[in-house]
């Protein structure tokens, strides 16, 4: 199913820049000549909840939601969110997960536990996994907030959109002052050996 439509799912916690990353990916697909649909869940993100953005692109896209088990790529800026949404990824899909932990209130209040050995669990459910310290890599470029762009760059290796589409998209989305940093962070992520 969905053999002609590529699904990409991005997850994280509010404030991590998931929605901007999704917009850039959607724009790159659009510039590459595809029909594109995206979906975002709003509102709760600012109040500590999870964020999920979905992108579908192909010659003709119907559902704006990616069916479970069909995503070609899953990008996660937070570990628990990667685990929580693992079933969106196709069996041969690429997971790119940042080794970042943001404690949910249920954990910080002591009513739930943050999983230990998160990396182990991730490797168990994602046969193709790139586990990277996106925040650390972004920090090496001067701004930890560009972690979303590092992640997107790594994720782009699992999609076959042309580099020019990514370049043009990164240079037309987001705040003007951030664009050079975003492109640098994206390229850094894209250059990582998966």
């Amino acid at each position: 199913m969905r053999s002609k439509v590529v699904g990409v799912v991005l997850v994280g916690v509010g404030g991590q820049g998931i929605l901007l990353a999704a917009r850039i990916a959607a724009h790159a697909a659009m510039l590459s000549g595809f029909d594109v649909k995206t979906n975002e869940v709003h509102g709760m993100a600012q109040r500590g909840g999870s964020v999920m953005a979905q992108i579908s692109y192909g010659m003709a896209v119907h559902s704006p939601l990616v069916p479970k088990g069909t995503a070609r790529a899953l990008g996660a800026l937070e570990q628990v969110e990667a685990l929580r949404h693992y079933d969106y990824l196709a069996p041969d899909g690429l997971a790119v997960v940042s080794s970042h932990a943001i404690l949910p209130v249920t954990v910080s209040a002591g009513t739930a536990r943050y999983p230990e050995k998160a990396e182990e669990k991730l490797r168990m459910v994602f046969p193709r996994l790139a586990y990277l310290d996106a925040a650390g890599l972004a920090a090496s470029l001067g701004n930890v907030r560009a972690a979303n762009m590092v992640l997107l760059g790594a994720l782009s290796r699992g999609l076959s959109l042309p580099e020019e589409a990514w370049l043009e998209s990164l240079h037309s989305c987001g705040r003007e002052g951030d664009r050079d940093l975003n492109w640098a962070a994206f390229q850094l992520g894209r250059s990582i050996k998966l």
Binding site: V41, H42, P67, R84, P104, R113
Partner: protein, 592 residues
Amino acid sequence: MANIVDHGLGSPMKRLISGNEAIARGAYEAGVTVATGYPGTPSTEILESLAGYEDVYCQWSPNEKVAFEVAAGASCAGARSIVTMKHVGLNVAADPLMTLSYIGVEGGFVACVADDPGMHSSQNEQDSRNYARFAKVPLFEPADSQEAKDFTIMALEISEKYKTPVILRSTTRVSHSCSLVELGERINPSREIGLEKNPPRFVPIPVWGRPMRIRLEERLCQLTREAETSAANRVEWRDRTLGIVTSSISYHYAREVWPAASTLKLGFSYPFPDALLQKFASRVENVLVVEELDSILEEHIKSLGIACQGREHIPGIGELSVDRLLASRAKIEKRETPPETRPDLWHDLPPRPPVLCPGCPHRGVFFALGRHDVVVTGDIGCYSLGAFKPLDRMDIILCMGAGVSMAQGLEKAGERRRIVGVVGDSTFFHSGITGLLDIVYNKGRSTIIVLDNRTTAMTGHQDHPGTGRTLMGEATKEISIEAIGRACGIERIRTVDPYNLQDTSRAIAEEIEADEPSLIISQSSCPLREKRRLGEPLRISAERCQACKRCLALACPAIECPDEMPSINQVLCSGCGLCEQLCPFEAVVRNQ
């Protein structure tokens, strides 16, 4: 950068926009000059987006009934108008809707309603298509952003041609998904503005209302012909074994799950295009109706004597999806769904629910309320989150404004505990004032707390009559909640600082004992909106902390205690000081 696109998908006039932005664009292109609404997810962005265009007057009204009436007035005067709301907002606006179809409209009038199947951010899920049939008005249902724009324009044209209000009904997945839209130019309105002096046309007192009723039925017949030939309704012939009748986002899901089936996609779905339904059904072997929530299409199709399947296989609770419909298809075809082989990880994953932000003023009020044995009737907004443990301080929520009125009901029934009603500032202006009048006029004694954070927060920080600013950004009168309380006849009114736990608690203690109604106004701006800290971040002194964990009762996301010793996250802490006030060991200290 050279244009790398062949077939124009990236061309300047095509944009990737949300359903809501597309509805706004449609209204703009169709020459709408007046737009009103009340914030409500998933509809809020329609008006916010429209307010960014030139030549469209946009306003937030105190509630959807008023918004609807304002737009109706504008339309009767000749201006193309829209009103926007979520599904429960249409309930509030139902009274003017029902009679507007009698007196009719002049300039096109479209009520844009966004349903929320699955209750992503609502207290119920309801199928607003029912209102079209109930009010006897046309209904349009876009399935994606291009249709959201095109159908808004079509709806305004139909509205004007037949002088009828029209409902444009969206859902969360249409409103908040983005898809490609080709933009067009605005047609500038050319109608003369002015209410025609013609009481038999506009005044539905019975002698004039009864002929309106008859004309309404005649109009429905004409609209049926219109729907039967509308470009918004489309038959797609493929394999004739199965014909699917569907509308809205369900169409797209059905296309993925049954790619070979023929489909009748309804976009102008009321009045029912009977001739089209009959023709389609007669040319396929089996008819399956795929619709969310209520079985409106299915029941109507059966009433025409057409055999079809639907709700027995397609779930009516919650939203549909490709995944759910795949299961439906397997059931219909009597295939076993393969057993779940994926590991169940979710059992061990910590939930990440939405919570009150660090520094939220509501936290202080709820915590103070926690010290008293009271029943709390609550309302809709960010503060609804006070219902969750550990704050656990909201016992019942019904709908907008009921936080005030239910308090009166509990009291008159004989509730023995003291009763406190909690309502936000925007909700107060929406429908709390009439409840307050009831308490005073009907001799109640409840204590009502208005949580005044100077904004309509949960929906994205919109202005309201208490903020002193309009949607268009102009300064205006700032209406005083205290003055309204006095005008309602309440004599015991006090304002508290929600960051002062002791004062707030004392105010509550005194007011709940009073033998007359009280109004407590908790006043402090939403820190998320202001994007400001309330003070320097606090920290917990390891020497003084005894790990009693009393601070965790505040449910503040900045206080972290995954193990034994709590600590304060320096990035998240807003410096509000509530934890400092409640620590019995003075272990919470300000950074030097």
